[in-house]
Amino acid sequence: MKTLLTIILLTVSSFSALAVEPSEILSDPALEARAREVSKGLRCVVCQNQSIDESNADLARDMRVLVRERISAGDSNAQVVEYMVSRYGDYVLLDPPFKASTYVLWLSPFLFIGLALAAAMGIYRRREASPVGGEKAQELSVEEQRRIQALLDEDGGGGS
């Protein structure tokens, strides 16, 4: 059991931490922590959906090194990100910013929820208004009562 747990833990933990090579790591742990944070938000542009912190791609490595160089040279986290965006565009950010060109991306889920709610309301309303079911079902008229009674009587009288 213990062995199994160890194997599982080792397998799971080995996924995220492998890309950064020992030679890249900055000696100052505070700067290194900032570099890791910045790297996690930057896309490895050749692998589409990995951050440069996770990717083993050559270009991702070079971008990690550049991030560390800039941080060591005194750039703020925002300045480093800005530099990358000025070179690769918003695409380099794993979390796209909220601006005119990304309104569709960010707002369409709300639009679709709104549409779905409107459709559901419409269906619900129509059910309520319809003669079948719902609390607003109309009372039967005297004539209708009489016809139902006649049909029931007829059925009961004929036997089965």
């Binding site: 542009v45 050749v46 270009l59 070079d62 090194v65 070179r87 565009g89």
Partner: protein, 178 residues
């Protein structure tokens, strides 16, 4: 009306299928460069092994130039190479090479020795400094830079007779008039 409602799922499916059909044909690597009409970041690259001169952003001043990112590891660059030789032989435009991410310093020079060297100047970029400055994703990628050192066009992928004649060459000629 009711009848039409039954077609709604089909309509939704067709719309989604349409988006997928277009999406599948798009090249995810073909991203618009944000650097168009931006000045080239200043850089100074060392020469590759066996060459005297490197390549720096100063070399771009005063002329329309073509900057080509390549590497001996890059298979598509092999396909592009004859076209670059042709451009160089006809002296159509100053062609600058950036030898990108060579693991072995001999690999780039050897590659050129075997196949011919089309470049006016070559810079060595083993750590992607220039590549990141140009926002390069992969090789080959080429940039047309104008007289003032402004990036005017980015070409992703192989330069061939077709795109040279239809896009790159006309643009170079037009920029020269400015």
């Amino acid at each position: 009306m009711k009848r039409l409602m039954y077609l709604a799922p089909l309509a939704v499916f067709l719309v989604i299928a349409g988006y997928f059909a277009v999406g599948l044909k798009l090249n995810p690597r073909d991203l618009p460069s944000v650097l168009i009409d931006q000045k080239v970041e200043s850089f100074a690259l060392k020469p590759i092994k066996g060459y005297d001169r490197g390549f720096s952003s100063e070399d771009l001043k005063g002329q329309v130039s073509l900057v080509n990112f390549w590497g001996s590891w890059c298979v598509a660059c092999l396909a592009e190479h004859p076209m670059l030789m042709k451009i160089a032989e006809q002296k159509l435009v100053p062609l600058y090479g950036i030898d990108w991410r060579e693991k072995d310093p001999d690999a780039g020079p050897q590659w050129l020795k075997r196949r011919g060297d089309p470049y006016t100047l070559i810079g060595d970029d083993p750590e992607s400094k220039a590549a990141i400055a140009f926002g390069v994703y992969g090789a080959p990628e080429s940039f047309i830079v104008d007289q003032r050192g402004t990036i005017r066009y980015k070409h992703t992928g192989v330069i061939d007779e077709g795109n040279w004649a239809s896009t790159l060459w006309p643009l170079i000629q037009e920029l020269r008039k400015q």
